[in-house]
Amino acid sequence: MHLVYAAVLAALLFCVGLYGVLARRNAILVLMSVELMLNAVNLNLVAFDVWLRDTLHAGQALTLFTIAIAAAEIGIGLAIVLQVYRNRGTADVDRLRDLGEDAHRPDPDRADREEKAEAAA
């Protein structure tokens, strides 16, 4: 089988994931796009491992490690997103601007947060 098929598919999947990370608003959809990027890398690792017929099978071992690290990453990432949602009432990455530099801009989060605090009280 031509190696280019696997390599091009991995490159295209990576770029689809890149678009998702940059264009999505919901933090959980951003995490999904990160998963796509990690999977593209895994496909590359497996394809090159099979092509090189590596005796140590470094590619496949690293793929297993990447899968485990991705599982850890998604667990921590979702915990952080849930915590942000609990504190701010939104999981929208565009509205988490507390560390931004433009102080003159009206802050939509604050109104939200106060609203949520009032609702909680």
Partner: protein
């Protein structure tokens, strides 16, 4: 025992070489399409379900590349647990069930530009580099469970153990992060 091993080593693959190539291409197109729908759909839950199709398609690609163990790990961990976690996350953050018009942020056109530029550069480099390279899929599977277990526990034991410590740390971290404080209860 040895008889079956020899038989497995000499048996022809399930598909002919060109059959593998065609199947790889078709599954690749389906995978890519599912991935594109995942990052463009306006319905958040549907994005998670299309992600299942993309990850499952990748598992089939691993099978076609004779990396069987990785394929089943992919099905177990990604399709089985990561997508379920993502769906739980969507539900716990009260994601809208129907179409949400603000699923994409305002910078989607710059994002599209960046992604297309990256895709063009990567595909050009990769095609130019590996134009004349073929994978030889004949012979014994490259990633059967036996092979994977042997290399993992013979040559990669230390990273494996380090990874288990990392997973433990991630578990503890996730619990600590998502636990409610006492006064919030």
């Amino acid at each position: 025992m040895t008889g079956t091993t020899v038989l497995a080593a000499n048996a022809p693959g399930f598909l002919s070489p060109s059959g593998v190539e065609i199947a790889f291409l078709l599954v690749g197109i389906a995978t890519l399409g599912a991935a594109v729908v995942t990052v463009t759909t306006k319905q958040l839950v549907h994005a998670a379900l299309w992600l299942v199709m993309a990850l499952g398609g990748l598992a089939v690609e691993y099978l076609l590349l004779t990396a069987e163990f990785i394929a089943w790990v992919q099905v177990l961990i990604y399709v089985g647990s990561v997508v379920v976690l993502l769906l739980f996350g969507l539900m716990l953050t009260k994601a809208p069930i129907g179409r949400s018009p603000d699923a994409d942020s305002a910078n989607r056109w710059p994002a599209l530009g960046v992604a297309v530029a990256a895709a063009a550069a990567l595909v050009w480099v990769v095609v130019d580099a590996f134009r004349t390279t073929w994978i030889d899929l004949r012979g014994a599977p490259q990633g059967s469970t036996k092979v994977s277990g042997e290399i993992l526990f013979r040559h990669w034991v230390l990273p494996f153990e380090a990874l288990s410590v990392l997973l433990l740390a991630a578990l503890v971290g996730a619990i600590v992060l998502s636990r409610r404080k006492k006064e919030e209860r």
